[in-house]
Symmetry: C2
C-alpha cells in the first residue's frame, strides 16, 4: 500500500522535474532531485522502487521518462473528472479555481440542495443531488469532493460510494465510514487554523 | 519541539472529551479516550506527558481539567485574532465561515490589492495591504492566513513577519522562507485533490 506521504513526495518530484526541464536539463541524478525536493538521494531511489522506476544504464534518469511515469501514477494521461457536493463557501472556491484545469482535472458538475445555487453565475453547472448518480455514470467519474455541513456528510458519502466513486476529498469535520475499496482524504481547515495558535 | 501530528491529536482529544461531557461523564481513563480517538491508551498518556498533564490520585482524569489544559495549549482562554491576506476564492471562503468564531478565533480583517474587494458585502472589513502593520499592532495579531497567488507569496510573508506575525497558514503552492521563530503550516489543495486520482 502506497502512503499519502509518498504520493505527496511524487507530486513534489514532478514540480522539481518540471523546473529542471525548464532550465534545459534532460537528465537528473537522484541526489540532484533529492536536494531540490529536500529529501535524501536514498529516499528518492526508495520511492522510485515502489513504482518500479529504474535509472538508465549509464546512470541517472531521463527526465521525460520520469515525468511520464509520474503521470501514470496519477492517471494524468486521460481526462480526470471530479464532482463537488455542497456548493457553499468551500465548494464555490474550488469550482472557481482555474488551476485544476491546467492539471487536467475537470470539475464536471456541482450539487446542492439549495435551488439558489443553480444559477448561471457559477463556473460549472449545479444540480440537485438527485442527479448525482446520472452524472457519475455519464462521465465515468471516480473522484468526488464533499463540502457539505457535518450533519449531511455521511449520507452524501453513502450516495457517492453506491454510485461508484472510489476516492473522496472531505472538508466536513467528521470521520466518514466507507468500504475497503474506497479512499477518503481529509482537509480539516479548522484544525489547520487552530494548531497555528499553539505557536503564538 | 511538539510536532504538528501531536497537536492534531490534542484537537481530536478535545472533540472526544466534549462528546463525553455531553453524555454526562465527568471522568475519563486513557483507554476510553484512546478508543474514542482511535489511538492506544499508551499514546494518550505519552501525549499528556509532553504537556505535563497528570492523572488524578484515584486513577483516570477529570474531564474539566483536561479541557482546560487543552485550551491552554491553544491559547483558547483569550481572544485569538487572525488576518487574511488575499481575499479571492479561498480568502472569502474562510472569511465567510462562522465556525471559527464559535471556536473563539476572530478574523479581524482581510487585505487585498484589488479595490473591488473593499466592498461592504464582505463579512469582515477589507483593506489595502499598506494597512497590514497598523492592524497587526492595533489588535496584537500573531497569526495570519496567506491566500494570494504564488508570485506574491514570499513578499506578503516578509511583510507579515516584519510586522510581528509568529504563525502562518499558507494556501499558495510554494515553500515560504521564514526565520526560526516563525512557523508555517501548509494547505496544498491541488495536491490533496491530485493524490485522490492515484486511488481511482
Ligand atoms: N469555509 C471554511 O473556511 C471552512 C472551515 C472549516 C471547516 N469547513 C467545513 O467545510 C464544509 C463546507 O463548509 P462551507 O463553509 O462551504 O459551508 P456552507 O454552509 O457555505 O456550504 C454548505 C453547502 O452544502 C449544501 N448542502 C447541505 N446539505 C446538503 C446535501 N445533503 N447535499 C448537497 N448539498 C448540501 C448547502 O446548501 C450549502 O450550500 C463544512 O462541513 C464546514 O464545517 C469550512
Ligand atoms: N481556490 C482553490 O480551490 C485553490 C486550489 C489550489 C490552490 N490554491 C492556491 O491558493 C491561493 C489562493 O487561491 P484563490 O483561488 O483564492 O486565488 P484568487 O486569485 O481567487 O485570489 C487571490 C487574491 O489575492 C490578491 N492579491 C494578489 N497579490 C496580492 C498581494 N501582494 N497582496 C494582497 N493581495 C494580493 C488578488 O487580488 C486576489 O483577490 C493561490 O496561491 C492558489 O494557487 C487555490
Amino acid at each position: 500500500m502506497i502512503s499519502h506521504k509518498i504520493l505527496k513526495r511524487f507530486l513534489l518530484y514532478r514540480i522539481c522535474l518540471n523546473k529542471f526541464q525548464r532550465l534545459g536539463f534532460t537528465k537528473v541524478f537522484s541526489y540532484n532531485l533529492g536536494e531540490e525536493a529536500g529529501v535524501t538521494a536514498e529516499q528518492v531511489r526508495k520511492d522510485f522502487s515502489c513504482f518500479g522506476i529504474k535509472g538508465s544504464k549509464r546512470g541517472g534518469y531521463e527526465i521525460e521518462y520520469l515525468l511520464q511515469e509520474i503521470n501514470n501514477i496519477f492517471r494524468q494521461n486521460g481526462e480526470r473528472y471530479v464532482i463537488i457536493v455542497g456548493m457553499g463557501n468551500i465548494g464555490q472556491a474550488l469550482a472557481n479555481y482555474q488551476g485544476f484545469r491546467e492539471n487536467k482535472i475537470i470539475t464536471v458538475a456541482g450539487f446542492d440542495l439549495d435551488p439558489s445555487k443553480y444559477t448561471r453565475k457559477n463556473v460549472i453547472p449545479v444540480y440537485h443531488p438527485d442527479k448525482i448518480e446520472e452524472i457519475i455514470r455519464e462521465y465515468g467519474v471516480k473522484a468526488a469532493i464533499i463540502a457539505v455541513p457535518e450533519a449531511a456528510g455521511q449520507e452524501v458519502c453513502d450516495k457517492l460510494v453506491s454510485s461508484g466513486i472510489l476516492a473522496i476529498l472531505n472538508f466536513s469535520p467528521m470521520i466518514l465510514h466507507v468500504p475497503e475499496h474506497v479512499t477518503v482524504n481529509y482537509v480539516n481547515l479548522r484544525n489547520e487554523l487552530e494548531s497555528l495558535f499553539y505557536y503564538t
